[in-house]
Subunit: 353 residues, 4 copies
Amino acid sequence: MTTQSQQSKKVNVAVIGASGYTGGDLVRLAACHTNIELKELVAHSHAGQEMADVFPHLAYLRLPKLKAWNDVNWDTIDAVFCGLPHGTARDIIVQLPDHLKIIDMSADFRIRDPELYQKWYGRSHDAEGLLQEAVYGLTEFYSGEIETARLVACPGCYPTATLLALLPLLQNQVIDPSDIIIDAKSGVSGAGRGLKQNTLFTEAGEGLSPYSIGKHRHAPEIEQELSKAVHESVTVNFTPHLVPMSRGELITAYVKLHPDCSWGDLKRVLEKKYMTSTFVKVLPEEKVPATQHVRGSNYCHINVFPDRIAGRAIVISALDNLVKGSAGQALQNFNVMFGFDEALGLQQQALFP
Amino acid sequence: MTTQSQQSKKVNVAVIGASGYTGGDLVRLAACHTNIELKELVAHSHAGQEMADVFPHLAYLRLPKLKAWNDVNWDTIDAVFCGLPHGTARDIIVQLPDHLKIIDMSADFRIRDPELYQKWYGRSHDAEGLLQEAVYGLTEFYSGEIETARLVACPGCYPTATLLALLPLLQNQVIDPSDIIIDAKSGVSGAGRGLKQNTLFTEAGEGLSPYSIGKHRHAPEIEQELSKAVHESVTVNFTPHLVPMSRGELITAYVKLHPDCSWGDLKRVLEKKYMTSTFVKVLPEEKVPATQHVRGSNYCHINVFPDRIAGRAIVISALDNLVKGSAGQALQNFNVMFGFDEALGLQQQALFP
Amino acid sequence: MTTQSQQSKKVNVAVIGASGYTGGDLVRLAACHTNIELKELVAHSHAGQEMADVFPHLAYLRLPKLKAWNDVNWDTIDAVFCGLPHGTARDIIVQLPDHLKIIDMSADFRIRDPELYQKWYGRSHDAEGLLQEAVYGLTEFYSGEIETARLVACPGCYPTATLLALLPLLQNQVIDPSDIIIDAKSGVSGAGRGLKQNTLFTEAGEGLSPYSIGKHRHAPEIEQELSKAVHESVTVNFTPHLVPMSRGELITAYVKLHPDCSWGDLKRVLEKKYMTSTFVKVLPEEKVPATQHVRGSNYCHINVFPDRIAGRAIVISALDNLVKGSAGQALQNFNVMFGFDEALGLQQQALFP
Amino acid sequence: MTTQSQQSKKVNVAVIGASGYTGGDLVRLAACHTNIELKELVAHSHAGQEMADVFPHLAYLRLPKLKAWNDVNWDTIDAVFCGLPHGTARDIIVQLPDHLKIIDMSADFRIRDPELYQKWYGRSHDAEGLLQEAVYGLTEFYSGEIETARLVACPGCYPTATLLALLPLLQNQVIDPSDIIIDAKSGVSGAGRGLKQNTLFTEAGEGLSPYSIGKHRHAPEIEQELSKAVHESVTVNFTPHLVPMSRGELITAYVKLHPDCSWGDLKRVLEKKYMTSTFVKVLPEEKVPATQHVRGSNYCHINVFPDRIAGRAIVISALDNLVKGSAGQALQNFNVMFGFDEALGLQQQALFP
């Protein structure tokens, strides 16, 4: 329940990893948030620079200079957004003072099982206390726990698009958990701002390429949450593709219906779940989700279509990987944690064309 | 002077041409404006449809249905934004009731000389009264007249980028008006949403092409305003190029310095002019304007560089053609006309990447 | 069997529909063919113009002027490539003299069942004699019949990519025909050169959108050929997506293994089938097909990957929709029909980056 | 003069720097050359790998493995193409045996004055003998010297586009050498395959940015050649822009006419110069050069347009920076050096769309 006094309070915020794409987009969105005071921006390798030097598009926000993380006076900070790469995120978060609420956009606190984390991320977790405490920040499903959480682990971009579409279907037992195929497509910003040959304009442009087939780290994350929904171990096909666009993510899920169900039942389950949702929208019949319609916004568009193969259906989900798939959902979780309206700072419509 | 009572008033607004790109972007921006009530959306060939049908990215704004323009009850409307093609814009604007304030984004009321209009737009103007009354809506230069205007003719996208960069230089007599070369580059949305072969993805993608060399309609518009600044007839080179991106416009102007001036003088003139400007920003030394840093925002980035040829300089200006080059500037003019802060509804930072 | 005298003969060729993308690409490729004489270029709405007017990139090939189809003297022509839209293709092909060999790149003679054609293409076929005579031009499977055919119906771009990957698997009974899911992705040139809003740069750029879900005309074509392979009726899931690139097509097929088979068996079946193939290449283990590696070439890259779900596999196939998916395969068929080496005129490697 | 016996000889070729874009494109083109035997491919950091590993699109050319340069047996080699970065190119070329003909695509032997080289490239040249011997490989101007050269320094991509357009105009004294403004635009491949933040898809996509304003290394190269043409020191404005496309380069040159000349005179000068040129084409009146029409080909399209400012004209030139701007021109020079038809291996038309 949000009260008037909560509405007017200012929360002092630090962003760690402010020079990456998720950090930058968090700053862009937070600047529209009436109750956030951006006190500290942390970017280790850019310490001492202005945000305008690393992100010229944010030059006019009167932001603090970039700092090394150990130069921050945490006493004045209430909440931290962390946009660091996995591994580094964990290493820093374990050292943060207890009074801070933490919204982590990295992968470090998403996988609940430390052994599974070690298998997929190649290092031991060694912060199991924090891991147990962390709440998985899929806002539309865990807002109750997020409200009181100290550490929220925001879902990966692909898991967000996938789980928003499939979790209600598994919870309502309208699809078969043993036959879920997720063909996923992402824009290049999903790979981050680090330098890699395959994300050069010349390599990714005018081309389409699948990658990490059967080996993408978002697969175990998706499986963890789907398994939880059906109380049994779920294994999915998850096949991502790199698309020549900067922002946007779309998953096309091929699912098997439960014997008594039709594709229309799937649509009704989703419509019921998201009837009052601010950001997750089940489209009218035959309308097709497309990434250009959610670009820059916190919306997720979902729809269901009949399959030509009897007993199957197609579920499509589209979002902006940097917003609803990362910084937007992080801000939505922040709103829940601090008792604000969940849409505060997130009212921007998509930028099209 | 803006008063408190003005700040809280709601202005009832109609948008004509709501199914085009400038109309759509006006709606996107107006939706963030606290004092606009979007009462009517007019789109002749889509009358009866929902805005969501023509622009799915705006589906969640609780907008009125699209109407034919003659189905609108103008009595309840205070202001009209017009995003129609030229010719059609004139034909409708002449029929609008007197009590309406009109912000026209078409080309029909930009050229002050009816004969020049006829020469470049291929039809007689025949609304000379309105033409004389119209104020050229380059906000940073004519806000005084815009405040009291009934009809504001918003500048073209290229003229906006060009004039913001060059007008102060001519007014301050630091460059030679007889030797101005404007190499202009635009994203494809500048061509509108109409169907043309050269704006298909397959034709415009992965390619760069100059067009309308020496014949673009924005040349006489630029010359009209530059001539006014120096009280003599100015002829410019204006050479536009089509760039494979959706949004963004950049002009690279090659100018000859007045004998006593250096390129640094040009920079100082611009810095002085825009010292307190909300949206026009002269960048720090050596920082290069780029369209990706203003995408989706109402900013215009300008900077000056020395030329290798002695006695010359390079002036670069970048903006988003649909925002500062059209709908954003229109909204800025609306704010001036109705006594609001000029930045109301326009605070969004650029979307990058 | 190709003889020396065949190798030196010149074949007089006409291209109908020379102003479309498939017609244009046919001309580009044919110009590298040592035994083709391009005698006539037909483009109804551009009759009288030079090819350079509609395709400036082909200006230096010393091509004949574009003609209306009824101005052609067919007596001097040996072979016709037809790049017209469906419907129009049929209407003209039925009127062509008997001595001509015809390579049709339209959809009109692909579907063998006239009722199925009527259902999917919205008009009766009414040329059943020709239809029965036509050979389905999937070169790697029907070269024997193509050798002696008078009319070859070149497969659609999606069916080519799909069938090259899946036909051997069904013929060798290593996958289950009742559970085939084809997630297909195409560049924008697949939609042709006609003017449509959704293929404008501004609409298709920086975005990804599924389309024709469950309703694409290539689905029944794929099913026809797969059904033939297993002697039973096959229904597939076929879900195409529009990708912001001009050329390229990739299908990600999700298949169920026959109980005794592993994903490695699928790979071995494909390797055996294409061991000596000039254009269809099964990639080394773990190498991922990508459209940028076949752009502009007649190659099709295929590979097989294990699925995380036991008993399933992923088959990926990539080609250039205008070359191996249309004009290139047409030229390959021409080579087979006239006794040339199938690679003549098709030796160009892909253009990357 | 080319004789029949020359036509049938095979030249043994090594490519140094085969893993970069210019090296890769050289291999693509050389594979279509009937008289080249690609004996050695050198790529230091990829020694031991297959070319297919670094350039999958060239997998089917039966190429030798990549080697370190000092593992090459130069005795069997006749000619070397060098696609290394500047500095490294010089260091290796000085060590190559005397019997080799060398076509260098780097910048190391373009600037004739060692001091100027040191100023712009930041290191002393220290190979002045070779530097004096090197011939500037602008084929259309220096074919006589190229025929007998041992070392050909291929021009930079921007200088090629610029000089082909402007050299004839200066040589024929129809334009003023003191007032030349070159607004240049390039696709991203011009920056090479090295990892840089500004060439990531996310940074360069959907945006346009000028760069190296007044400081680009191609400016002194252009000036050197223009100065030579008029026997006096020429300084030009040269302002490059990065365009969101992989291939293609276009320069828009703004020039002042000599008092007695019209823009038509410029066109006539160019038409006369290139009347019999295989690759440099002066377009028909009003036809506009565009990079998509030369993509992947060795053509350069040029045209002249009247300026709105009296006494001035606009000269536009477009080419593919990796072909006519680098590897294609290198192969053309090879043909001249070895007595082949200059078009051998370069007959591919542009790939469009």
